[in-house]
Structure formats: C-alpha cells, structure tokens
C-alpha cells in the first residue's frame, strides 16, 4: 500500500511539476494569440463603427463631446485607464443606450444624456461600459456568440457585411450574461468612487427607469437584467465605500449638454 501511495504521489507530482514549468512559458506570445486577438478586435471595431456611422447620425457638437470627454477622463485618470485608447462617439438617437464596441469604441446615444438627471448617472453608465472594455467582455461575448473562427474570417476578408451587421446588432442591443453584467456594475462602482463620483445616483437611475416608462426608448435597460435588482446591489456595494464627491462639469456645462441634446 505504501508503495502504491508513493508511486501515485510521484506520478501526480511529476504531472504537477511539468504543468507548473510549462505554464511559466509565454505560450500566448509563441502562438501569437494576443496579436491575433488585437488585430481582430481592431478590424471588427473599425468595421462596426463604420456601419453605425453610415446608418446613424453622428453628433459633431464639440461642446457635447468635450463634456463627455471630461467625464471619461476623470474616470480613466483615477483608475489608471489609458483614456487615449477610448474612442468616444456620440450618436443622435432617442434610445437610452450606450455600448462598447471592440477596440475600445464607446458609443453613447443622445437619448441616454436626455434621460439622465445628473452627471453621476451618466458617469455610472459610462463606467459600466468602460468596465466591459477593461475586462475584455466585448470580445468574450463575440467569441461566445459568433465564434472565434468567424471573427478571424471577418478580419481577413474585405467583406463580411452581414456578419458585421450581426455583430453590431449583438453589441448594441443585447446584454452580456448576468455574471459579466454584475462584474461590470461592481467595477463601475469602484471606478466612480475612485474618481470621487457618487455611485448612488447611478443605482437610482437603474431603479427608477424601467421598461414601463413611456418617455424613452430604453434599449440599455430592456436588454440588461433586472434594473431594480442591479440598483439594489450597486447601493449595497456603494454603502461600503466612503467618498467625497467632486463635480466634474459645472452646472452650466451640464445644462448645456442636456439642453443641446438634439444637437
């Protein structure tokens, strides 16, 4: 029996040592996984954005872009995120929606700005989308729903129009799975508190706006799981943090952003 135990430990130990040693090697680099993924993200992000640009109205209001940039910069700066990588786009559409595309494209609909009552609420949604970007949720979702081989095919061919349309639709009008959404919500709370933005208005925004509201077309809320439940756990996480909120935009800048929402 002792001999068997000794041999078992030796076999299991050899396997564990071999696994440990091999896992120290940069296989991702050897197989160029990161390079391929980065190239894929970049191309798909570009193709998706070109599609949105062609089919929807893009705002060229410099004040609105500057105000949104200020919110993004504050969150990025206080959370060690390189804001230069974020490509902000403002689309004129009355849907309450914001979403991330591959390669750090952040798309915000004017309807979202219209629906938010203060900069903290808007910052909460932006923080949530930044969390999706930082955690690679965008590409994970695409790999899960479209498949890696299809994504690489789109990257290496000039066309793929229908597939790009499907990807754009998937990213703009469907949520990530519940686990990823919760992860993004909680990370958004951390982003906000680090950036001296009160997360409670973001929680209230989720709790008060639901699909029964008739004023707005609530894509972002309809596609995301149970807004009230999300509002509850965001408040619970926020309670554990102590912050001294510092305003990002002046009252007049925020009012200008809201009042010129149709641009």
């Amino acid at each position: 029996m002792k001999k068997i135990s000794y041999q078992f430990v030796l076999i299991f130990g050899s396997f564990a040592v071999l696994f440990f040693c091999l896992s120290q090697i940069n296989w991702l680099g050897i197989f160029k996984v990161e390079k391929i993924t980065h190239k894929t993200e970049k191309t798909i992000g570009k193709k998706c954005w070109e599609l949105f640009k062609k089919e929807q109205k893009v705002s060229d209001n410099p004040q609105a872009i500057a105000a949104l940039d200020s919110i993004i910069n504050r969150i990025c700066k206080d959370n060690n995120i390189d804001s230069k990588n974020i490509q902000l786009h403002l689309l004129i559409k009355d849907e309450v929606n914001a979403f991330a595309l591959p390669d750090n494209h952040l798309v915000i609909y004017s309807g979202l700005i219209d629906a938010t009552e203060n900069e903290s609420q808007l910052a909460g949604v932006i923080g949530h989308e930044l969390a999706h970007m930082q955690n690679n949720h965008v590409i994970k979702k695409l790999i899960k729903e479209i498949g890696m081989s299809a994504l690489i095919t789109i990257t290496n061919t000039s066309g793929g129009g229908e597939m790009v349309k499907e990807i754009a639709k998937t990213l703009s009008s469907s949520a990530y799975d519940r686990q990823l959404e919760k992860e993004a919500d909680i990370q958004a709370v951390n982003y906000l508190t680090n950036a001296h933005i009160d997360p409670i208005p973001f929680a209230n925004f989720l709790s008060t706006l639901d699909s029964t509201s008739s004023k707005f077309s609530l894509s972002w809320f309809n596609t995301h799981p149970d807004s009230k439940e999300r509002g509850r756990y965001i408040k619970a996480v926020a309670k554990e943090k102590s912050i001294k909120p510092i305003a990002i935009l002046s009252t007049s800048t925020w009012n200008d952003l809201k009042n010129n929402v149709d641009y």
Binding site: I4, F8, I11, F15, Q24, W27, K144, D177
Partner: protein
C-alpha cells in the same frame, strides 16, 4: 514505467488474446471517441464487465486496462471542459491552458505508447505490470 514480471501461471493462447484485446479496446475507443474523453473509459469498463468471471490472467489485465483509463479520463475531462468553457464561457486562453493541453497530450502519448506495448507483449504471453497501476491491480484483483 512498465515491468515484465512472471505471472502466477502460464496463460493459454486464448487468455493472452483476450487480455491483449482489453488494451486494444481502449485504444480503438480512444480514437473513435475523440474528443469525448468518456468513450474509452466506457469501452474498457464494458470489456471489463464482460470478462469479470473470466480467468485470472484476463481479469487481471482487464482491470489494469480499466484503471489506466481512469487517470486519462480525469486528465482529459479537465482538458475537455476547460476548452468548452473557453469556447462558450468567460475564461480566455491563457499560458496555463496551453501548458495543461501540452501536459495532457504528453500524458496521453505515454499512455498510448504504453498501451500498444502492453497489448503486443500480453499477446506474446508476457505479463506486463505498469508502474502504480500494476500494484493497484494486485490489490483489487485476486486469483
């Protein structure tokens, strides 16, 4: 890893053929059942159950073949579900994943070579006891 030892008695030609087949069965099932790791285990288990009341030599080798498949089954199952979770779930490709797949491949290769060698030697009437699995089989399988 494998020792050629003397068995309690000299097996007949029929016994060596059946014992050799228990190893070949796992090989065929492994090839047919890829990438599902359970197929080879089920095949070896069925062969084992069919020869449960056979002679000691056949029973002994069926047991060793089955036990050796158990560890491959565990290793391959982890690899299989890790791959599935990457394709359909949230984890991404990592250095640890590649390291595991290489380990799994090497382990399977050793197992495959060992199985082929044992099948050939057993058919010749030689009694092969695997390292770890041999003593374990002696514990389970009594004359």
């Amino acid at each position: 890893m494998k020792n050629k030892t003397a068995f309690a008695y000299t097996p007949t030609d029929f016994e060596t053929e059946k014992a050799s087949n228990s190893y070949l069965m796992s090989l065929l099932a492994l090839i047919a059942g890829l990438p599902l790791p359970i197929i080879n285990l089920i095949a070896t288990l069925i062969f084992f159950l069919l020869h449960k009341r056979s002679t000691y030599f056949i029973k002994w080798h069926c047991t060793q073949a089955l036990l050796s498949q158990l560890s491959v089954f565990v290793i391959n199952t982890i690899g299989f579900w890790w791959t599935i979770s990457i394709v359909f779930g949230t984890p991404t490709l990592s250095n640890a994943y590649f390291a595991y797949i290489i380990c799994m491949f090497l382990f399977n290769l050793i197992e495959l070579a060992g199985t082929i060698y044992t099948a050939i030697e057993t058919r010749k009437g030689n009694h092969i006891e695997w390292w770890f699995y041999g003593p374990l089989t002696h514990l389970i399988c009594k004359p």
